[in-house]
Symmetry: C2
Subunit: 362 residues, 2 copies
């Protein structure tokens, strides 16, 4: 046998991987406090828990993992369109990095935990060091904004698993909270108010449906201004990163706002996520006239003739977070949750099953 | 517009996802100690740190994330061949679940950390509840064996990102260790011995190359007995899960074996992983005659006419773990590391750059 095979010819470019690692280091270290004990080279990452645990008598570790769904595909579309037009394709990967951190960290922030560390896994068809760098730059910025250390990650090049040009981005977040301070929703009672906190758009859920409606069915161009979107492009509107609620939630808790429960409005929308924090026997009535969903949602609804209940199950409809507490917290929440809008979204009601969308004809 | 679009027609089967969740629960709960405070439904998972931190004055959290590379593709091949022959296709997904846990948890065990929690992310072309269940069953078994709680995870169906029939499996492990007990390799001195601990096969690295050699170039059938493999099939040999070193390492540490450093032999093989634990100015001379790599490695080497250095960079060659300490620890290690073989693999030498493969002509 005369052919000689090495790793690169088998479809894995180790040198590109090494370059990606070199490029990401300068971004990652900006997220490191003195609690981070190692660089990128160890088998595992090390984070000193001393400061985070100080004063806790019964610490609970809270963790979550998630990806951003097929928002990656829209990112790739926007980047390709930008590249074709001579623009900065990489900025969309930065936005995706922001998305990943905000989406995953939000899941533990709503339980009252302070996120400490983040690790990422990037699965790609092909390692493009520039793309990896911009992704990690975005993740690092979002981590720094939220006070999280980006301690490690893995980039895997798997041309046979990921479709050409595609990638998946996965995040893992870990935080701690004193057990007595876990926000469980157990103290929620009838008459408590649901405060809506604005989303920045679709966040990271509903993308398969959104892509079908906007691109497969309607054939919209991602980079053309659209009248229905006030002259913005789909790239402008769709790729705004997930709201980063970590610091706003921390500010509210530090200010002593009496939050009884929080629901992160992710897959399943208001309909499926609000009940996750309600005590047994309690439901919620949501006043659908209390806010106006951003135009992108109405556009998608029209394109697919989708009924309102299905829309509210597939998308967040402009509500990124629901905070539940007694009446009268709106001003405190609005102050601490800036820049996100806060409004009275609905009320908790005994004997109601799940979520009632008041003002919707299904 | 008359067509009505729902989530399933957009390519995401929520019901299949819900069934997968129902199926996995019975397996996952078997890994739960009383430290696990929530089920699968919360926004984040909760793990009480009290017991794990007891007696620690300066706890360090150690974490790692990784996948299993394109071993997934070989798993799919073997499962399809088994299904075609009327056999149990799912068992290969169970094995893959074992792989993922052992591969990722090993990365923090070698630093002296006790792994506490594991989260998984399964990215799939299509959710097949039976496959997800068997994957999670395997992960649960490997977690239980290692004393780890499988606290949560995410399964994402992304037909547009993952190639048809493909999947990626990603794990995330978290453990703790008293800072003074972190195993860093800093105390390694010249003359210390490298003890090899046997691997169970390729583990989770080198799969793109292995697939090219065995299947793309040689056209081997995955389910046909091969003379070079002592009559075993490639599925038999390739899909043995990654050695689960967590408990063996704990036993060695609990027994007081004076381990100064440990290298998990992952991507880059002995050549790249051993130097990660050696102090500056120290290298290692490995006696290539001290062990006989399993036949699968020789088979691949012949098929690709690959030189020995490249082989040792792409594959673990039968060494899953290297433990470094003073001379004379072999019997203690052999006792505590059972069922894995332990032997004297080489020595630490000052002034040597990296790893010298003694007995290899490059």
């Amino acid at each position: 046998m005369s052919v000689k095979v090495d790793y690169k010819s088998a479809g894995v470019d180790i040198e590109a991987g090494n370059e990606a690692v070199r490029r990401m280091k300068s971004h990652v270290v900006k997220t490191h406090s003195k609690a981070v004990l190692t660089g990128l080279g160890s088998f595992g990452t090390m984070y000193s828990l001393g400061d985070a645990l100080r004063g806790m008598s019964d610490p609970v570790m809270v963790q979550s993992t998630d990806g951003v769904g097929t928002k990656t595909k829209v990112t790739v579309m926007a980047a390709e369109a930008a590249a074709a037009a001579g623009g900065d394709a990489g900025k969309y990967y930065e936005l995706l990095g922001h998305d990943l951190v905000a989406a995953v960290a939000g899941d533990i922030a709503v339980m009252g935990a302070r996120p400490l560390t983040f690790l990422d896994y990037l699965g790609v068809h092909k390692v493009e060091p520039e793309i990896i760098e911009r992704l990690v730059k975005g993740m690092s910025e979002a981590c720094a904004e939220a006070g999280i250390a980006l301690v490690g990650g893995e980039t895997a090049e798997m041309p046979a698993v990921y479709a050409e040009g595609e990638l998946d981005v996965v995040g893992f977040v870990t935080g701690v909270v004193e057990r007595a301070k876990v926000i469980t929703g157990a103290e929620i009672v009838e008459g408590d108010v649901l405060y809506g906190v604005g989303s920045t758009g679709l966040h990271t859920n509903g993308w398969s449906l959104a892509r079908k409606l906007l691109f497969a069915m309607n054939g919209s161009a991602i980079d053309a201004p659209m009248e229905e979107l006030g002259g913005k492009t789909l790239a402008d509107v769709l790729l705004v990163p997930h709201g980063n609620y970590v610091k706003p939630i921390e500010r509210a808790l530090d200010a002593g706002v009496a939050i009884k429960g929080m629901a992160h409005i992710t897959g399943g929308g208001l309909v499926e996520n609000v009940p996750r924090v309600l005590p047994k026997g309690m439901g919620a009535v949501i006043d659908m006239k209390s806010w106006t969903p951003p135009p992108i949602f109405g556009l998608m609804q029209r394109l697919g003739s989708i009924d309102a209940v299905e829309m509210n199950r597939a998308f967040n409809m402009g509500v990124g977070l629901v905070v539940i507490g007694a009446a009268g917290l709106k001003n405190e929440l609005a102050e601490t949750m800036k820049p996100f809008a806060v409004w009275e979204l609905g009320v908790v009601k005994a004997g109601v099953e799940g979520v009632v969308l008041d003002g919707v004809s299904a």
